[in-house]
Symmetry: D2
Subunit: 344 residues, 4 copies
Amino acid sequence: MAYRAGVVGGSGYAGAELLRLLAGHPEIEVVQVTADSNAGAAVGDLYPSLLPAYERLQFSPLDAADLAGLDLVFATMPHGASQALLPGLLDHVGHAIDLGADFRLPPDVYSRWYGEPHTAPEVADRFAYGLVELYRDEIASHTHVASPGCYPTAVNLACAPLLALELVEPRVIADAVSGVSGAGRGLKTTSLFSEANENVSAYGLLTHRHTAEMELVLTKVAGQPVQVLFTPHLVPTTRGILATCYARPATTGLSTARLLEHYREFYENDPCVVVVDEPSGTKATYGANVVHVTVRFDARTETVVAIAAEDNLVKGAAGQMIQAANLLVGLPETTGLPLLGIQP
Amino acid sequence: MAYRAGVVGGSGYAGAELLRLLAGHPEIEVVQVTADSNAGAAVGDLYPSLLPAYERLQFSPLDAADLAGLDLVFATMPHGASQALLPGLLDHVGHAIDLGADFRLPPDVYSRWYGEPHTAPEVADRFAYGLVELYRDEIASHTHVASPGCYPTAVNLACAPLLALELVEPRVIADAVSGVSGAGRGLKTTSLFSEANENVSAYGLLTHRHTAEMELVLTKVAGQPVQVLFTPHLVPTTRGILATCYARPATTGLSTARLLEHYREFYENDPCVVVVDEPSGTKATYGANVVHVTVRFDARTETVVAIAAEDNLVKGAAGQMIQAANLLVGLPETTGLPLLGIQP
Amino acid sequence: MAYRAGVVGGSGYAGAELLRLLAGHPEIEVVQVTADSNAGAAVGDLYPSLLPAYERLQFSPLDAADLAGLDLVFATMPHGASQALLPGLLDHVGHAIDLGADFRLPPDVYSRWYGEPHTAPEVADRFAYGLVELYRDEIASHTHVASPGCYPTAVNLACAPLLALELVEPRVIADAVSGVSGAGRGLKTTSLFSEANENVSAYGLLTHRHTAEMELVLTKVAGQPVQVLFTPHLVPTTRGILATCYARPATTGLSTARLLEHYREFYENDPCVVVVDEPSGTKATYGANVVHVTVRFDARTETVVAIAAEDNLVKGAAGQMIQAANLLVGLPETTGLPLLGIQP
Amino acid sequence: MAYRAGVVGGSGYAGAELLRLLAGHPEIEVVQVTADSNAGAAVGDLYPSLLPAYERLQFSPLDAADLAGLDLVFATMPHGASQALLPGLLDHVGHAIDLGADFRLPPDVYSRWYGEPHTAPEVADRFAYGLVELYRDEIASHTHVASPGCYPTAVNLACAPLLALELVEPRVIADAVSGVSGAGRGLKTTSLFSEANENVSAYGLLTHRHTAEMELVLTKVAGQPVQVLFTPHLVPTTRGILATCYARPATTGLSTARLLEHYREFYENDPCVVVVDEPSGTKATYGANVVHVTVRFDARTETVVAIAAEDNLVKGAAGQMIQAANLLVGLPETTGLPLLGIQP
């Protein structure tokens, strides 16, 4: 194996998914996995699914010294934790790929949406935003990556062509649903099976923090300020995000056929974006590092509808981290990443 | 029992739900249930859940002559079938409550959205639209009722106060999800467990027929033409519709608190509408004849968001039919109807 | 209302189900509901489903003094808690119906299976075991009831006729599955949606505490010691227990037809037991206070198979408590209890 | 790619899973996929998940001539169909791997359990039974393989060590649950989401055809006739089989620790069998070609309990076919097969 990797926060769902995917990666070997809350437990105790590849691996307590010298550090921790850990590590590891919100947003935007000061603004510009499809240049010129949130990945890839090509007005309504794994492995009443099963509910109305990341990315893509109203919903699936986005046309002559063409062109060099004529369900992406997108123009109400489906733990988390890591070390971006969803 | 009732199309999901609810109704007795495709089968063979109340009842073939003389006929048939059956029956039964689309829309609107001529336009005006909360007067002055579709019930009750009070512009985006029972008991690949489970997908983009019913009702409520863009999604629940609706304010000075007040006032005499501060999930309505609604004003993006949750088989179908039937015969509208959802 | 009732531990799932069912009971009124962990919260905050009946009711902290004088106290607390609360209350309330394990078993058996001393053995004989179908006489001669566990209700009703009629040997294998609500509303990793969904697992192998209750009841029914090997499994449903039980014949001349006849006779006066020819799924019992049972004799392997389905929160918990309470106060046992499952 | 393969019956669930797995196989290339009922459709229309690998592949009508000359033919058809197709093909393809029941059982046993004459008994002995772990020698000496059923794979691997080592009496109770995909993609009421969701039911009581395959294999393993009573249940998962098996000890001195040791030894050269101390849920095997097994001895009731979990579409179908195909062509048996389940 060419690269030695550590997974920080490995007992959470994104961490476990990193372990699963990296076990199939031909060039990256996991040599350490930390999990403060589960330190000492065997990986296979929490995830028997991983036994065939990690029969003897145990979760270690988090110790920055143990990570120094690794080629790749994948960090999946609650927001706030990366600011504490990573600044001291950046010069001692090959590349850090961080799934926390800490370095996704400019520090002042972070402070505003997360309601707390940013404690490491000085290293913020050492991270590229890791949405490969829209930030390839930035990633190429950085050593470290702040990997996007799950909802923003879906919404941004659904809407980017519309805004980049100035086809719609810079106001987007993003209505999305997520499976329960998006809330992580932590113990919350709303994450209980008996609460979430046979139930659909809206939450985080008007104020969900991922809104900031959508506006940041779409603003960059559009070259003008874009406003997003984002409504997330919880649905009874383990995985999967489906985002249905609405915007008003900014040009005449739109049609569904023409929009689909634009999308195919826009993403023609992006193996992880699948443009489909008919909207794919989230199941088409289950376990795979892909986003399926489609688009419609409704002449009757003069509205553009763009839809994206993804697996929140893969393209929305662990898979996307590996996709960026591949670029950081110079591998083809899909190395080791499944692109076929598991259906049914 | 005061009233003798027949259920037409009783082997489908709305029919079975009618049988369940009517078994607990103190004034209505089911004396006949028809189901062409399952004629001869015992009710308990298809729905063992119903055995304690209908141990010996069998599905009969549909024969209009058998229905003549009944006080109440509840019809749940595919669209098109009511036009054939009901015109000849209207003078021979006390009241018909029809769940088909046939008499919900003006005949010309029906023809346009359902792509087929309406064969009984002459009896259309004998039916009131059965959305009790908004059509009490019409129901009072009619003998028969065309009961609303499941999606329109949720969307219309979510948005009616906004449009009635001229708080928003007459353009609504209605983004909704439905459980799989909305597609009925018919055999369709998309209704298979293995297709629908752990999957969310959009369908019927731009053209779902329920759009017509939303525009019709909201236009009446608003007193001006209202346009609706409706996007339905399929989620892995058996029951439940959640509609999240967006509109732009038509007035200044809006706030969430003020909107909630408007809603509480608007629905203060409606026992089947529960206005909640925090959005209820669909589970809060499971098995019950209620719609839970809430509303938000987002000053940042100047958008009003209205949310409704219901059980598509109860308030979205069988329960609403009984609610209207109660009015038709002069009973309190909630007679025999559960209002508490089964949670968890 | 004839009877004033309190619900202790009302914020848990059995407590919420008591509130739902009692709201529809014609003779019992809930005047108090306690929930230490959620004291001060409105019932409708945790269970918006209950809003139409309990708009203003709040959870109180548990205080025995507040319960004194009530006609009925329904207690649903973790095992151990009833021993502390109830002894001092028994003389000050009309009837206590306790869902804890504390008074279901003889104190010494309790100590052995629950691994802790029983602190109130002196009041144990003031409780009848509340499995109405098999303990009507005991309930008639007692003032208080210890209501059975969810698994034992299913297994015992499935097997009682076999053992009472000496049709099988006194050794039973009980293989059962339960929905996740059986584990309650407490925060446990195994109860998380993402852990339980699309997953089936065995647990509590060889040592599940409900075994004691099965052996106790079946031994009484059989008039000789009965041994049970019980294997519970967790399945991704919210509600529902299905028990499949195996025993060897103790007599010749068995046939499925004859066994079904025996079952019909045995339960002919039990409105909450539905004997079915074909095995009902758990959904047939959803929300209803019924157990559906069937039985088979396999001549090839000389084995009897008995199957029971129930809703663990109704006949397996809250409904059964009300069924016993009805008897205690002299009402027909099904008063206020739905017998029709919600299907689909 | 070294081997050119055809998939017959490719539009069913086992077929789609073959396409998914073979897309990641380094030595096998799918060059043809047939599906009579969906001939002409693009693979991606039915399974958008497969688009990234099969963007242009269409389902062909079944034509034996098109298959001649292929190195490998994977057939997944309803029982009966293989007898018609395969006899004429066996000499014209490198290897046939058939998932039908037709060649799993001796023709007379097939006739008895499937209730129809076997029309190609003369080629029956050209197929080895494809349960790699127990039939390696047979596979090595045959050219074609009849791949096992999903339930028998779980039950037989759970029980084989017990019977091979004469630890238990030759009578097994096999109580198992399966996800709905086991019933295939065909349209059946019981496979509808609204019927299967939130429901568990027993079916095929006493007479399920897979019993024959369990008795055949365990009899071979035991060297004496073994009788199996098999009770399958349907649970609301898409994938997954969990089998819990019971037998009486045939020897003294058993303990759980010793049994686990026996199992570890028995399967030490089987990379697709994972022996675990604590029972894995089916989710541990999701999407992977593994069976997780564990075992217990209950001294109290003198019973051995053996438990196996698998993904019915992978180790129970498509994956196992590839595992056998690998052996037939001389590759390591796990080539191209994922062994890590997708959890959560």
